[in-house]
């Protein structure tokens, strides 16, 4: 199979990466080469093989749902110090709701 230019634009939109027509054209060629490598997989009969998501056959650990950290206010300040734009402990983004 091979991708179309339209698919590249659609995937870039889903991934929230702005892409120009020229870049999309270039990317299309590269992705198709990569997918021709990936297509090797399709020749393998994997019926009855359980998909493997994780290297270890262990269950996800659970923990009690309670606050374990202290000094949240200081931590928040430390984390927001490196944010592009904050105000009164909140992260600022362009207006979403009119």
């Amino acid at each position: 199979m091979s991708l179309t230019l339209e698919q590249v634009h659609r995937v870039a939109h889903l991934a929230r990466i702005e892409i120009s027509d020229g870049e999309a054209q270039n990317t299309l060629g590269q992705l198709n080469e990569i997918f021709s490598l990936i297509e090797e997989m399709q020749a393998v009969d994997t019926r009855g093989v359980e998909p493997m998501a994780h290297a270890q056959d262990v269950a996800q650990r659970l923990r009690a749902d309670r606050v374990t950290e202290s000094g949240q206010r200081d931590q928040r300040a430390a984390f927001q110090e490196i944010a592009p734009e904050t105000e009164a402990g909140l992260y600022l983004v362009p207006k979403v709701i009119e």
């Binding site: 929230r16 990936i38 490196i82 362009p94």
Partner: protein
């Protein structure tokens, strides 16, 4: 002093022959002298390193030192370190001064090691040559027009040129082992889950694992002792009894220290694809292992040939999800101009990520999208299972698996940069190990045309100690790992 083993450095520090401040200063001077040429470090903070060194000296003076107290260690710039710029090789994090320590950093701190600097790497660990770094490519100390490998290329170049006695790296598809091979180092990827991923910037979470890069297996054992251990902050960290990874190294050796060891030689590692000069060195190492008492058995890993294809579905899929967090809202790069929220995301990500990272996010987004999930993502996960089953079967016949680490010695800068598929195929021997989650290491096994080659040893789950011992016995009988590149005095 500075070219000795970690053990020698530790005993010099313990007996006060040298102080941590003196030692750290020596390495900082070497970095100042040689880094402009190598580009192995992204961040060096002399004052911060020396402050840690003098704290280590106080601990040593009180007799409270451990095996790594006062030893300067360089860290791949993928590990968050409080107060240090942590870029992950990306423009996206060009302004990210981490507010917290990764588990690996915290563990080295607790051991009293000195943070010597943050090393260059492929952007978000996506690359096999260090050429995708926003901070420019790293040069191989063995040959300036060659790549050091990747993605932990800065760490490898720094240790190879003795700008640091040891360094950390991460390995998602070979990113510790391949640069170790290309720079004449010993580098280990532990079993998945042995080292905490907390604070290690995620690429492909089911494959990422941190490990050491150093000159010898003995050094790697000391480093792994500091790095390994359960951490509840990493949901895939494994609860296991504490282990001394160097425990088998101290045993007295006769001239056949590996008698009884069965080394599996997979046909798929020896079939084709590997350059003849590297293969010749691997064959010589096999002969050496037989002299050390090991016997070899033929094994098969028939699904391994599909590992690159499966990896380039699974790793990008996980990456596309992990890298969604870089949106210009909470940290990192935000585009200077935008219309609305979506435009801010799209422009910040378009401008903040480099070409290879964007390529992989697009692949990952595509294979996870509606209508393609079964054909790509689930099929890749099924093949992942087949690969793990191949290894399980092989380990019924042998104790360790041996082969080349990389199909060639270091390639030229620029040689594969424009051809992603060729670049991906340079990890053909390392990727299957990550998919299965097994431990593996690369050790120096000789030179071809003045460039080092690496021998890969793969073990069954949790056999790090044995792997390190198998490497160590070879290093006792050879001196490849003691060779240093010229021009870095």
């Amino acid at each position: 002093m500075i070219t000795d083993s970690l053990q020698a450095l530790a005993s010099a520090l313990a007996t006060r022959k040298v102080s941590s401040v003196e030692l750290t200063r020596q390495y900082l001077e070497r970095i100042a002298r040689h880094n402009p040429q190598l580009n192995a470090f992204i961040t060096v903070d002399e004052a911060a390193s020396l402050t840690q060194a003098s704290a280590a000296d106080e601990r040593l003076a009180k007799g409270e030192g451990g095996p790594l107290t006062g030893i300067p260690i360089a860290h791949k710039d993928i590990f968050c370190a409080q107060g240090w710029l942590t870029t992950c090789g990306s423009k996206m994090l060009n302004n990210f001064v981490s507010p917290y320590d990764a588990a690996v950093i915290a563990r080295f701190k607790a051991a009293g090691a000195v943070l010597l600097g943050k090393t260059n790497m492929d952007e978000f660990a996506m690359g096999s040559s260090n050429e995708t770094s926003f901070y420019g490519p790293v040069k191989n100390p063995w040959k300036a027009d060659c790549v050091p490998g990747g993605s932990s290329g800065g760490s490898a170049a720094a240790v190879a040129a003795v700008l640091a006695p040891a360094a950390t790296g991460t390995d998602t598809g070979g990113s510790i082992r391949q640069p170790a091979a290309l720079c004449n180092l010993t580098g280990m990827k532990p079993t998945y889950g042995v080292v905490s991923r907390y604070g290690m910037i995620a690429f492909a979470s089911s494959l990422d694992q941190a490990g050491p890069l150093a000159h010898s297996a003995a050094d790697c054992a000391l480093l792994l002792n500091a790095m390994a251990g359960f951490d509840e902050r990493d949901s895939t960290s494994l609860e296991r009894p504490r282990e001394d990874y160097g425990k088998e190294l101290a045993a007295a050796a006769d001239d056949r220290p590996l008698a009884g060891l069965k080394i599996g030689l997979p046909a798929e590692f020896f079939d084709h694809g590997c350059s003849p000069d590297v293969m010749q060195l691997v064959e010589a190492a096999i002969a050496e292992y037989r002299k050390l008492g090991a016997e070899t058995v033929a094994v098969n890993l028939p699904s391994m040939q599909l590992s690159v294809a499966a990896y380039y579905v699974i790793a990008p899929a996980e990456a596309s999800s992990n890298l969604a967090r870089f949106d210009g809202v909470r940290y990192g790069y935000r585009a200077p101009e935008y219309q609305d929220l979506n435009d801010m995301y799209s422009k910040s990500r378009a401008q903040g990520f480099g070409a290879e990272v964007k390529r992989r996010i697009l692949i990952g987004t595509y294979v996870l999208s509606h209508g393609y999930y079964d054909a790509y993502y689930l099929q890749a996960q099924r093949i992942r299972r087949l690969i793990a089953m191949d290894f399980a079967k092989a380990f019924q016949q042998c104790d360790v698996i041996l082969g080349p680490t990389s199909p060639s010695t270091a390639f030229k800068l620029g040689e594969k940069a424009a051809d992603p598929v060729q670049m991906y195929l340079s990890d053909i021997y390392t990727i299957a190990v990550n998919l299965a989650g097994l431990p593996a290491l690369s050790i120096p096994c000789g030179f071809a045309g003045g460039l080092p080659a690496g021998l890969q040893l793969i073990g069954d789950y949790f056999t790090e100690s044995r792997l390190l011992n198998v490497a160590h016995r070879y290093q006792q009988a050879s001196d490849w790992h003691l060779q240093r590149p010229a021009g870095f005095n």
